[in-house]
Subunit: 324 residues, 2 copies
């Protein structure tokens, strides 16, 4: 018996994530009704993942559910916003209970971990795709913007870069090594958005962006918005041992700089706040690494260990530019 659309929504999504008392009306009416506290601003972002573009059509549905929410949470993190609510527009070729159950589990576990409540959605028949909008709360005026950086500010990044990119190369059979790459797959398929880190950084960072299209591309957006340039010190770019080995063997910097899907935060800090940042990072065990410097001269320069500049900076993913 085919499930009806309404059964579907009821069964998998109605109460999949816990109640928040700022949800006046959740799933099941024409709109959700939500309460934004006084003195708070609302941060919103929408992202679509398409089968065959962002994930394989036969990818684990639990990963798809996780990642569909994670990419939006990463955007909230980049603003320094506290996650609150999500809506989900799910387009499916058919209604398979096993697939839906696993998808919903991946989505709900991450939602619960960040106190996000699913408040609305739309389920449609069509080629597999998932759009998620996330909503977060900010102290009024406290948003970290891309455009707040100034020459002299220090460029930092959280975590390590390139793990997801290397895992993808390994999955595609384009990079083969004994063992040891399995651990990176978690970064590719179940990224952990830096939500807590974003909240902490909001008090010290002058600008911030999340690294979803690769460091070079995303830092490039920050630079354009801040109307300045930067030098990046490649030997300082934090990488796992596997990625360091890959770069050493191949000389290919595109994995840590341009492969994307890192979901780390790249942010800038005025020099006078560096000590505050480093103390915050120590106190709260946030892995942050200083990797470069904002400069008046436009553009991004990548300085190698020997002092020479990388001739061409690897660029990020662009859906419509015909390459990756």
């Amino acid at each position: 018996v085919p499930l009806s659309e309404f059964d579907l929504i009821d069964r998998y999504f109605t109460s999949s994530t816990g109640p928040r008392d700022d949800v006046v009306l959740g799933i099941g009416d024409d709109c959700a009704v939500l309460r934004v506290p006084d003195q708070r601003e609302l941060a919103v972002t929408i992202d679509t993942l398409v089968a065959g573009v962002h994930f394989a059509a036969d990818a684990e549905p639990e990963w798809i559910g996780h990642k569909a929410l994670a990419v939006g949470l990463s955007d909230l993190a980049a603003m320094g916003a506290e996650p609150a609510w999500a809506t989900l527009a799910l387009t499916l070729p058919q209604a398979e209970p096993a697939w839906l159950g696993a998808f919903s589990r991946g989505f709900s576990e991450l939602a619960l971990a960040h106190r996000v409540q699913l408040v609305g959605g739309d389920t449609t028949r069509g080629p597999l795709a998932v759009s998620v909008q996330v909503h977060g709360l900010l102290r009024a005026g406290a948003a970290m913007r891309r455009g707040g950086g100034a020459p002299g500010d220090l460029v930092y990044v959280t975590g390590t870069l390139g793990d997801a990119g290397l895992a993808l190369l390994a999955e595609q059979g384009l990079y083969v090594r004994d063992g040891c790459l399995g651990g990176l797959r978690e970064q590719l398929h179940r990224p952990s958005p830096r939500v807590a880190e974003g909240l902490l950084l909001a008090s010290v960072a002058s600008a911030c962006i999340d690294v979803s299209d690769g460091l070079a591309a995303d830092l490039g957006h920050l630079l354009r918005a801040s109307a300045c340039g930067a030098t990046l010190y490649l030997e300082r770019v934090p990488c796992s041992e596997a990625v360091r080995d890959y770069v050493a063997e191949t000389g290919d910097w595109s994995v840590p700089l341009a492969a994307g899907d890192d979901y780390e935060l790249c942010f800038t800090v005025p020099e006078e706040k560096q000590a505050v940042l480093e103390n915050l990072a120590l106190d709260f065990s946030v892995p942050v690494t200083w990797i470069g410097l904002l400069e008046p001269q436009k553009g991004l320069r990548c300085c190698q260990a020997d002092g020479r500049q990388l001739a061409a900076v690897p660029s990020g993913y662009d859906h419509f530019a015909g390459g990756d």
Copy 2:
């Protein structure tokens, strides 16, 4: 030269709809940042239109842009919310400037008419689909819900029903008549969401829903949420002359009751507020028609002009139930 994703977004969407002073940060950062006034609640809804399901792949892009926003505005209308902001997730097989220009025009014209600002989006390569989330503002506690109806309340509907459904039959060549059906196409392709009407009705209606899947299905949702049933008087259901002719000729009530895409409001009013409603409707020229009565007995009964009940109530569209 293929347009890059960023060029695309810049060219068609960055400032396509006018500025609102409650938009702290619009398109171009990781999130939009929005200000919800004190004493207001936020109403949100997300809807997806998929090529081949909700519209033909070669449909006029201007219609697609219009309709993608209209369906969400209709949901806001059903809550009695004032439209404020929208986000757009657009999935495209390729970036065609002519298509994008027309899509954006259809979207923007409707947005402007309702003072809606586009504040964020995501553009992705893939099978053509559009997800739009709209955000509206409500006086705290004033939302019209589906579940507020009670036995004895009068059932009303705005406008006329079945025009879009008949236009679709005509386009598909399933219903042929001399002339006169052309005017209905506007209802199908460029529906006018009943936003102003929803705002007016919020003070008198006990429950409300928008008619997108057909009156029978949508009133059915209202009845289940309100834990009651209803009798509908078919000869009172407001129809254009073309739809009345169609029903008279064919005896088929599914066009006005179940064809969907009407985007009218179906609402209920307690008997003691009927006079207030009728006066409001007169004063503001809102076309409303009394069509039935809520009753304690569950289910929907359709009473014909001769007093007999329709044997089977036509049902609405369900994406996963295998029919239309």
